[in-house]
């Protein structure tokens, strides 16, 4: 971002109004004002403004303010059992929160919670059946042994215990992105998945196709990463696609934004790289988006935040090896104003470690340029970029040793994704307990994964893995495995973990296609996949198809449907209204 020369002096003009200039700044400003009509007008305008605000009427506070304060002080001095109920709005609200918390405790303690490590039933049906079990736990790990052994060429029997969806699930995405036109005259649209109706067509569009997209939980915003032409850079943008809506009809509507529907905001430019850089993490309340920027000028990677309600974009970390992970709703004591959203931020240098950080300080001001290691609410050593399941109970994270590779960080030793439970611990932090390697049939040695893309399904149980960059020896006798061209579709409740047999059928996707993005549908058995095709050269517009795969197991082939082709189609996005509430 650059300032014009007048803007540089506006800050001095503003500071001069309350005498906050150094002698040198005063001299520079005076010299500039002598020859600049525009800045003299700014000075006059700011001075008028200061006079107008200072001249606002002062009103007398209510006469009973002192009595109210005294009553409040004395109320607080009483033991709790002698306090009258709901004297003050704030206190009454606090009591309601406490009562709600007590009720929740009774309900939680009264509910039958699954035991950690219990056996998971293995239904034979391939269709997901809702099972209202919000507390996900992992089945006992079966490592180090190989997975149960279907014969080569066979896929294992389905293992899933889907967590259930409170809203009837549909396989089509809520929206997808579509780019059309010639190479030098492209248009971009956000399209409704079930009807192909155009939701919005942003006027200001990126120079290249979108390659990652995530919708905010309140359905208002679509954040996306797009290629920036052929520059080797990506752009991070957000487009407002709808008015916000509350999760329930009587609920509080989400915060509005001054940005109109259809408008886009460019949030930053980043060096294009691994899937770790393409993570777009919305907070559960839709208030914040977290993303990662790799600085092309050698500054490394850092986490950034966008708050649509205020249009503010700020750099959360300034350490050069930080990546945005996932948001967590942190509770509060009964005398605090309420819960807030905190972000898992991971540092890559040294031993990979994740830190749970608030993004605003006590005065509600954005925390900028912080070192997460010194500002954390909780710390998880050996955990990199944890992806928390939508119901908050499980996490897929990375472990291994990373090193700087160009402008980003990649795993160079023992890199692999792990699956774990994600729960508050007794010390006020979070435990990544009962963990196991996500891929149960690969041997992670020095050479292993450098990166991969991973996405949870809305049920908090199913997940997809693709773009697996594996540097070790092949892990299967029949060929490349893990295979970068394949999509792996697994379930956390599967005690056998993720294996080579969980790859989609080889014929599901075009042979010359490259998987750009994968989303798991709320049905838990469908995947919506964006597959791009090699272009013929400079001047040919990029092409990608949006493909719907209905996964079958056993000897039944997957069902494949091309949802849209011609031009660039994808990525798809689902909002969070199919999610199960976190415990």
């Amino acid at each position: 971002m650059t300032m014009n020369r007048h803007e540089a002096y506006e800050e001095l003009i503003s500071a001069s109004l309350h005498g906050d200039l150094s002698p040198d700044e005063r001299r520079r400003l005076d010299a500039h004002l002598d020859g600049c009509d525009r800045c003299r007008a700014t000075l006059a305008s700011f001075a008028d403004q200061r006079r107008i605000v200072a001249g606002l009427r002062h009103l007398a506070p209510p006469r009973d303010l002192g009595a109210r304060v005294r009553a409040g002080v004395e109320y607080d001095a009483l033991p709790w059992y002698r306090r009258p109920i709901a004297i003050f709005t704030g206190v009454g609200g606090g009591l309601a929160v406490v009562a709600g918390a007590l009720l929740a405790l009774v309900l939680v303690n009264g509910a039958e919670e699954p035991e950690v490590g219990r056996d998971v039933p293995t239904p034979s049906a391939t269709e997901a059946q809702p099972t209202p079990t919000p507390f996900a736990t992992l089945p006992p790990p079966t490592l180090p042994g190989p997975p149960a052994t279907p014969a080569p060429g066979e896929t294992p029997a389905p293992i899933a215990t889907p967590m259930g969806t409170p809203i009837p699930a549909s396989p089509e995405p809520d929206v997808y992105m579509a780019m059309s036109g010639t190479f030098d005259d492209q248009s971009l649209a956000v399209v409704e998945g079930s009807t192909d109706d155009v939701v919005t067509e942003p006027e200001d569009i990126p120079l290249g196709p979108p390659i990652a997209a995530e919708m905010s939980s309140d359905g208002q915003w679509l954040a996306f990463v797009s290629e920036d032409g052929l520059s080797g850079m990506n752009e991070v943008r957000a487009t407002r696609v709808a008015q916000g809506r509350a999760d329930d009809p009587d609920g509080t509507p989400p915060p509005d934004s001054p940005i109109a529907i259809g408008e886009s905001v460019v949030l930053g430019r980043t060096v294009a790289g691994s899937p770790f850089l393409e993570r777009l993490a919305w907070s559960r309340d839709g208030r914040y988006l977290a993303f990662t920027i790799a600085d092309p000028d050698g500054g490394g990677t850092d986490a950034w935040i966008f708050e649509p309600a205020t249009e503010e974009v700020w750099q959360l970390t300034d350490v050069g090896d930080a990546y945005a992970g996932t948001w967590v709703t942190v509770g509060a004591e009964d005398d605090e104003p309420g819960s807030f959203e905190a972000l898992w931020v991971s540092r890559a240098d040294g031993n990979v470690t994740s830190y749970l950080v608030s993004v605003r300080d006590e005065g509600d001001q954005p925390l900028e340029g912080v070192d997460p290691a010194t500002n954390s609410l909780a710390t998880a050593e050996g955990v990199f970029q944890p992806l928390i399941s939508p119901n908050g109970a499980l996490a897929i994270y990375w472990n291994g040793r990373m090193t700087r590779s160009g402008d980003e960080w990649l795993f160079v030793e023992g890199g692999a994704p792990w699956l774990a439970e994600h729960r508050p611990d007794d010390a006020g932090g979070y435990a990544f307990g009962n963990d196991r390697q996500l891929f149960s049939d690969v041997t992670v040695d020095r050479d292993a994964f450098t990166a991969a893309a991973i996405a949870w399904g809305p049920d908090g149980d199913s997940y997809a893995v693709w773009d697996t960059a594996w540097t070790g020896v092949p892990q299967a006798p029949e060929g490349d495995y893990p295979d970068r061209s394949r999509v792996y579709f697994g379930r956390a409740s599967d005690p056998r973990g993720l294996t080579r047999f969980h790859a989609l059928d080889a014929g599901d996707l075009p042979a010359d296609g490259i998987v750009v993005d994968v989303k798991v549908s709320p049905t838990s058995v469908h995947l919506v996949i964006t597959v791009r095709y090699p272009t013929g050269g400079i001047g040919e517009a990029p092409r990608a198809d949006l493909i719907l795969v209905r996964r079958h197991t056993g000897n039944v082939a997957d069902e494949v449907e091309t949802l849209r082709s011609g031009g660039w189609n994808g990525p798809a996005a689902f909002d969070a209204h199919h999610e199960i509430e976190a415990p």
Partner: protein, 194 residues
Amino acid sequence: MQSMAVPGSLAWGAPAMSRRTDDAHERAFALLFEEFSAPIYNYVLRMVADPDRAADITQDTFIKAYKKLDTVTEATSTRSWLYRIATNTAIDDMRRRRNVTTMSDDQPTFANRPDHRPGPEAQVMAATLDERVQRALLSLRPNHRQCLLLSDLEDMSAQQIGEIMGLSYGAVRTLLCRARGEMRRALSNEGFAR
């Protein structure tokens, strides 16, 4: 713009049912309340634009201040400390109401709430001007509004504003400049000449 100059300073009466026996604490709080109750109320009123909410927030501010008064050691920082409590309390209130950026027309805001007190025509005209300035203030982002009010209504330095908002001196200068630019446009929309 001195704090003592505002009308309506209130006295802190002797407690009817005191559980605190520390007279020094009571005296210190009485002075604090007498000096700052009106300025804090007006500052909060301009932040939230609702007299009833402003009264509630001011009340909560002083209850918190009473409980934490023992933690203040330097007299010179008392004002910043109190404004910080007021600012945080107001922000918490706005967060709870999900009303950080805009207020709907049908809410009983300061801007559209009738002032029943009788007064001369000049007061009516002043109220109209006041209403337009308040509308312009309300259109600002909360941190811009807060920064501008502390600077121009409360006549605080960048250093003091930084103590209240938890920002560096340089960050306050930048924020204040942006706030002035935003306010310039907002006042222009309200018909102010430049």
